[in-house]
């Protein structure tokens, strides 16, 4: 039985510490959570993602108070009630819409930072895997949210994406109908995507964020040189006051002070987009109400899904579906396909350097082609880019196996 001081005032520091170990928590989670000093602003992307998720959560709660998940009223509850009648409803919606788009930009930056610096191996595999699971759940969250305004693009994107589950030649139409709850997207469809968007997926995301943070604690954050050093020794130096010689800084307040600064710069850009340049995140086609009798001329997903959409599109149905399925999960295998023991920036890793930049450029090309109508030269470029994507993944184990040990 622990000792409790009977004279401690309720909710005083001592009282709380005896019951919650707040001092230990603060030490373990922030003041003695050591971060390498040798980092750049890209190391702040995690906190920026957390902040953006916070904005999405808060704005989502406000929107939820007026949104109506009903095929007859959903469109107007968003575009009229929230946009014209609710005080600052437009602001919450624009924050939510822009946030949903920008969060993916930051996720991609965060991901490619991890790939560039090799932050997914030698003890950091679970950081990568939990991060990729977050990417998958964020994708599902974004897609389900996109259904809710019940505009033309909601309806037709819902139609196209759920159709994928028929599995091409498998003709698993029963599965598609089971997912939709109907033959075509309708009330049952809207209701279940509403549930997924506001309950199940956010719960999964919050759980995965906790896991993602947890996976960081023991292997520690990587640094700009992939240098491995004794954290305990570095921490001892720091605590002794040799902050200049020590290779680490505490999460609070030193690392946090830089995070907050980077966040400030980010918020300037973010709110500029919210107020003056939100069109990129709110597709015009979705301002036409859903109409099952009128297919839009161009159906395309939001920009962050375009690269994988383009891996689906240039092939015949069955091959396309298989390629698409592989593209969805291939990044999860990165820590195991990279056979090199080196944890270092890509620039020092020989052939991997080219692999990294080719992958990045190829995914940008795929993204461009995914939005363009699949005609003429565009479909050829798309096909080549999709093949290069596959080839790069096949090549990865071979080029990393032959990598010189640093």
């Amino acid at each position: 039985m622990a000792h409790f001081d009977e004279n401690a005032k309720p909710f005083s520091h001592k009282w709380l510490d005896e019951r919650l170990a707040v001092d230990t928590l603060d030490r373990v989670l922030s003041t003695e959570y050591w971060i390498p000093k040798n980092i750049n602003f890209l190391w702040a992307m995690g906190m920026i993602l957390a902040a953006t998720f916070g904005l999405l959560l808060v704005s989502g709660i406000f929107l939820l108070m007026y949104y109506q998940p009903n095929t007859a009223t959903a469109f107007d509850s968003v575009n009229y009630t929230i946009m014209s009648e609710v005080g600052y409803g437009w602001l919450w919606r624009h924050i939510h819409g822009v946030g949903a788009s920008v969060v993916f930009l930051i996720i991609y930056i965060h991901m490619f930072t991890g790939i560039y610096y090799g932050s997914y191996k030698r003890g950091r595999e679970l950081i990568w895997l939990s991060g990729m699971l977050l990417f998958v759940t964020f994708s599902a969250e974004a897609f389900s949210g996109y259904m809710l305004p019940w505009g033309q693009m909601s309806y037709w994107a819902g139609m196209v994406i759920t159709n994928l589950f028929s599995g091409g030649s498998l003709h698993a139409n029963g599965l598609v109908e089971w997912i939709r709850g109907d033959y075509v997207p309708g009330q049952a469809f809207l209701n279940r995507f509403f549930m997924l968007h506001v309950l199940l997926l956010p719960l999964a995301i919050i759980g995965l964020i906790v896991l993602h943070f947890g996976t960081l604690r023991i292997p520690h954050v990587n640094n700009q040189d992939g240098e491995e050093f004794d954290f305990e020794e570095a921490a001892r130096l720091y605590k002794e006051g040799n902050v200049k010689e020590s290779k680490v800084i505490p999460f609070k307040p030193v690392f946090l002070s830089k995070d907050v600064f980077v966040m400030g710069v980010y918020f300037i850009a973010f709110f500029y987009l919210v107020f003056y340049h939100f069109e990129f995140a709110m597709d015009p086609v979705n301002f036409d109400p859903a109409n099952g009798l009128k297919t839009p001329t161009h159906i395309y997903p939001e920009w962050y899904f375009l690269w994988s959409y383009e891996i689906l599109r240039p092939f015949s149905t069955n091959i396309g579906l298989i390629a698409f399925a592989i593209a969805q999960v291939i990044f999860l295998t990165l820590p195991f396909l990279d056979r090199s023991p080196n944890v270092a920036p890509a620039s020092r890793r020989g052939a991997f350097k080219y692999w990294f930049w080719f992958m990045l450029l190829d995914m940008i090309v795929l993204t461009f082609m995914g939005k363009l109508p699949p005609q003429g030269i565009w479909s050829t470029v798309g096909l080549i880019a999709a093949l290069i994507f596959m080839a790069l993944w096949i090549a990865l184990p071979f080029i990393t196996k032959n990598e010189k040990k640093l």
Binding site: K37, Y80, V254, K258, P284, W303, L372
Partner: protein
């Protein structure tokens, strides 16, 4: 500095990405339509000068179908009966002289189907000569108001085919305020209005081929350039559409656009006034954060 170089690389890739999925993709997806600035340059210049006095006499033919409220001339039939007779309710002509282009209107009176580019246009040719047409136009202009309100422009130019539910507008007028029976909850007047609207919309759909869309939020569904060129000449953006060329002036279009913005994007003024303060707040926040960071990192390198 290395960190700034990395920042530059991230920014460049982000901008390239943006360029590819937004401006470039949209330039490839939508055909480019060059506007004419509402000059109606396909129509010949009118060489004769209109005489409003003579026009007034000639306009006697107009009021068989049209009302001119500015001259206290009522409509011969209500909107629903008009739709049953012609397929659509003919507009009140009080503002025609203010909103329609003079050259367009003159040619329109001579040959409505050709000038509107709408083969089944309900109105027959209504002037015997260019002089007659010019006279009627001069007459319509003689009482046209100097200033037209955005909603009035919408009603005249679009509102008899296109509802605007966010603006409370239907093809047969504003949705009236009615009361339901307190014991039953039945609102007979509203039901009657809906019934009339239904008859009108059915007739209109027969006339146009389909019910023209509600334009509540069209300002966000289409680009301004699309709307401008579409209204100037519907065939340019939607070849084969039943929508007639209306013939509004540049100012008339601006009024219509203003109304569409009021109903479809009412937060624009608030956005523009609040936005700079929010951004200014975060600039201040960032400056403070910078000094905090500087202080905390002092002596670390």
């Amino acid at each position: 500095m290395k960190e700034l170089k990395i920042f530059g690389i991230v920014i460049v890739f982000t901008l390239v990405l943006y360029w590819g999925v937004e401006p470039f993709a949209h330039s490839q997806m939508h055909k480019h339509v060059e506007g004419d600035g509402f000059a109606y340059s396909d129509l010949k210049a009118v060489t004769v000068k209109g005489d409003a006095k003579r026009g007034e006499t000639l306009a006697a033919a107009c009021i068989g179908c049209h009302s001119i409220e500015a001259k206290s001339m009522p409509a011969p039939m209500n909107a629903v009966a008009s739709a049953e007779a012609y397929g659509v309710n003919p507009p009140d002509l009080s503002m025609a002289g203010a909103l329609l282009d003079e050259k367009y209107l003159t040619h329109f009176l001579l040959n409505p189907a050709e000038v509107t580019k709408s083969k089944h246009f309900a109105m027959p040719p209504s002037a015997g000569s260019e002089q007659d047409a010019a006279d009627i136009v001069a007459y319509l202009q003689s009482f046209a108001p100097k200033e037209v309100k955005p909603k009035e422009a919408y009603e005249f130019a679009c509102g008899r085919c296109h509802a605007n539910r966010y603006g409370n507008w239907t093809q047969i007028g504003d949705v009236p305020k009615t009361k339901s029976n307190i014991k039953t909850g039945v609102d007979l007047d509203a039901l009657k209005f809906q019934g009339n609207l239904g008859i009108y919309q059915n007739k209109l759909a027969d006339y146009m081929g389909k019910l023209p869309p509600d334009l509540s939020i069209i300002i966000r569904a289409r680009s301004e350039h699309f709307l401008e060129t579409l209204i100037e000449d519907p065939q340019s953006q939607l070849p084969g559409t039943a929508m007639p060329r209306v013939g509004v002036t540049k100012e008339g279009f601006e009024k219509v656009r203003e109304y569409l913005e009021e109903t479809g994007d009412p937060s624009k003024p608030a956005r523009e006034s609040i936005g700079k303060w929010v951004i200014l707040f975060f600039v201040g926040f960032t400056i403070l954060a910078f000094f905090w960071k500087k202080e905390k990192w002092h002596g670390h390198h």
